[in-house]
């Protein structure tokens, strides 16, 4: 039973048992290359043997499974058994992700490496808090710095993110193309933003005395860098007028 140093002549039976023994004591997914080194077999054989084992456990109806997650092999409880496993208070189960966190994660996952400002621009909101939380939980990490001026920190997803989603790699994420809005949605949005004249508009609803030459200038003044004042200064329309306009609907 003492391991012999010759490479890859180890019989399947022993290699399989050795893999089971090692993976049983790893507390994160075991890299096939490391396993290959330890068991002295080729990395491809590690994967093949683990796949065999996984199939065996499944056919035997075991309560656990062997899966490849975040690039490594690990034991985990089988999904069907979750009612039993969940009865038991587990540590390390992190809170469910908010929709803000999920959207931010989706952007980072598909667009990495990406800066905080770029994420904010896509989401249209400040993402500092969400990004900080995701970083603390270990789902995203600083990957690099933008070589350009400003040297913004660029973020990417981590293996903890892959584990959270039960993925082996980012390539298992559905292609972004699958999420491109359907023609119906595009049409709905286009309609929503239509500004050409509508024939059926009842013009009597519009206040008669509003100057239509609208020209909204926006001026933002930061006073004392604390007080935030917005001046919606317009040549011929004021906020009051807008209210009138809106109220008239």
């Amino acid at each position: 039973m003492i391991p012999t140093p010759d490479t890859d002549i180890r019989p399947d039976v022993e290699a399989r048992a050795a893999l089971e023994a090692i993976i049983m004591v790893t507390d994160e997914p075991a890299d096939p290359r490391l396993l290959a080194q330890l068991v002295e077999i080729a990395p491809e054989r590690v994967d093949a043997l683990c796949e065999d084992l996984a199939a065996e456990y499944a056919s035997e109806g075991r309560g656990f499974e062997l899966v490849k997650v975040a690039g490594g092999w690990r034991f985990q409880s089988r999904a069907e058994m979750s009612p039993y496993v969940e009865r038991f208070v587990l540590s390390g189960q992190s809170a469910r992700l908010s929709s803000a966190a999920l959207e931010t994660l989706a952007i980072v996952a598909y667009k990495q490496p990406i800066s905080r400002a770029q994420v904010a621009s896509i989401r249209g909101v400040n993402v500092d808090g969400v990004m900080r939380t995701l970083q603390q939980r270990g789902y995203i990490a600083e990957l690099a710095r933008d070589p350009g001026p400003g040297q913004a920190v660029l973020f990417g997803t981590t293996s903890a993110f892959l584990e959270k989603l039960g993925l082996n790699g980012l390539d298992e994420l559905p292609a972004l193309g699958e999420f491109v809005p359907s023609p119906e949605v595009v049409e709905a949005l286009e309609n929503g933003l239509r500004f050409d004249a509508m024939e059926d508009v009842d013009m009597s609803a519009a206040p008669a005395d509003i100057d239509v030459d609208i020209d909204v200038d926006i001026e933002i003044i930061l006073e004392d860098s604390e007080e935030f004042v917005v001046d919606l200064r317009t040549s011929s329309i004021s906020l009051d007028a807008l209210d009138v306009l809106a109220d008239d609907e």
């Binding site: 507390d27 038991f88 249209g124 500004f195």
Partner: protein, 264 residues
């Protein structure tokens, strides 16, 4: 010109929208309304609320809000007052550009919103499988006398944060496997063992070592029961002050009989 402090006006209930795109997508897609029908004040209010909600002002994002608001104001005004174009082609084209840009960004936001729902599904499905994270057992402890080798203080800090971050709320009712099963009977038995000969004890002391609030409550009920049976005397010198407990029953009697009395 007029100045509007952002802090004014915004006492409306915060909507669930995550920013201007979220809001617009909701208005246009979910509500199936056209901008024409949407009250402009609603939009502006929602935008102001969003700005108000930001922890600290991010000039870039705030500007974003305002630019989008301005575009919307223009689009809306055009549609409310059709046929009054003064024919300035440049203005017209600029507005088209603005609109296209806004549309493109809405589509992008929508794309990632949909991607996020898939991530949520994946995460939910992964959550049904729990990873084994156990590590080598004690047979291998001697191989690595220094288990902290390579561990930095920073890793320790992160471990602390991990351990104290809110845990997922179990979806399944835990009551029948509740780790704590406090019973008044057990608590009485404990008190009967502890109190005689202990002199005057405060309730605070009696419960200082307890971890579960339920245990404390149950112990309190046990104290009341013993009081009712005349085994202890209670005193509380100050309102909401410490409750003092003193055993006055006979020590011989301090037995299962009292517990039986409770059951009966």
């Amino acid at each position: 010109s007029q100045c509007y402090g952002i802090r004014m006006a915004v006492a409306v209930q915060t909507p669930v929208f995550e920013g201007p795109f979220d809001l617009l997508l909701h208005l246009i897609l979910q509500e199936q309304v056209e901008l024409y029908e949407v009250s402009l004040t609603t939009i502006i209010d929602a935008f102001l609320i969003e700005i108000e909600r930001m922890d600290h002002l991010d000039l870039e994002v705030t500007t974003e809000f305002l630019l989008i608001a301005a575009t919307l104001v223009e689009l809306k005004a055009r549609r409310l007052l059709p046929g009054l174009d003064d024919g300035d082609l440049d203005d017209e084209l600029a507005l088209w550009d603005e609109r296209d840009l806004l549309l493109a960004r809405l589509l992008e936001a929508k794309t990632f919103k949909d991607a996020a729902t898939v991530l949520a599904r994946l995460a939910a499905s992964a959550a049904h499988r729990v990873a084994r994270r156990v590590g080598p057992d004690e047979r291998y402890v001697d191989l690595t006398p220094d288990a902290l080798e390579g561990i930095s203080a920073e890793q320790l800090r992160r471990a602390f944060i991990r351990a104290t971050t809110p845990k997922e709320i179990p979806r399944i009712d835990l009551y029948h496997v509740a780790p704590v099963r406090a019973s008044v009977l057990d608590a009485m038995a404990e008190l009967i063992a502890e109190l005689p000969g202990a002199g005057k004890v405060t309730f605070r002391d009696l419960t200082a070592a307890l971890v579960e609030k339920l245990e404390i409550v149950v112990r309190f009920l046990a104290v009341l029961e013993l009081y009712k049976q005349g085994q202890i005397e209670l005193d509380q010198p100050a309102r909401f002050g410490d409750i003092e407990i003193c055993w006055i029953g006979s020590e011989q009697e301090a037995s299962a009989e009292l517990v039986d009395a409770y059951e009966g």
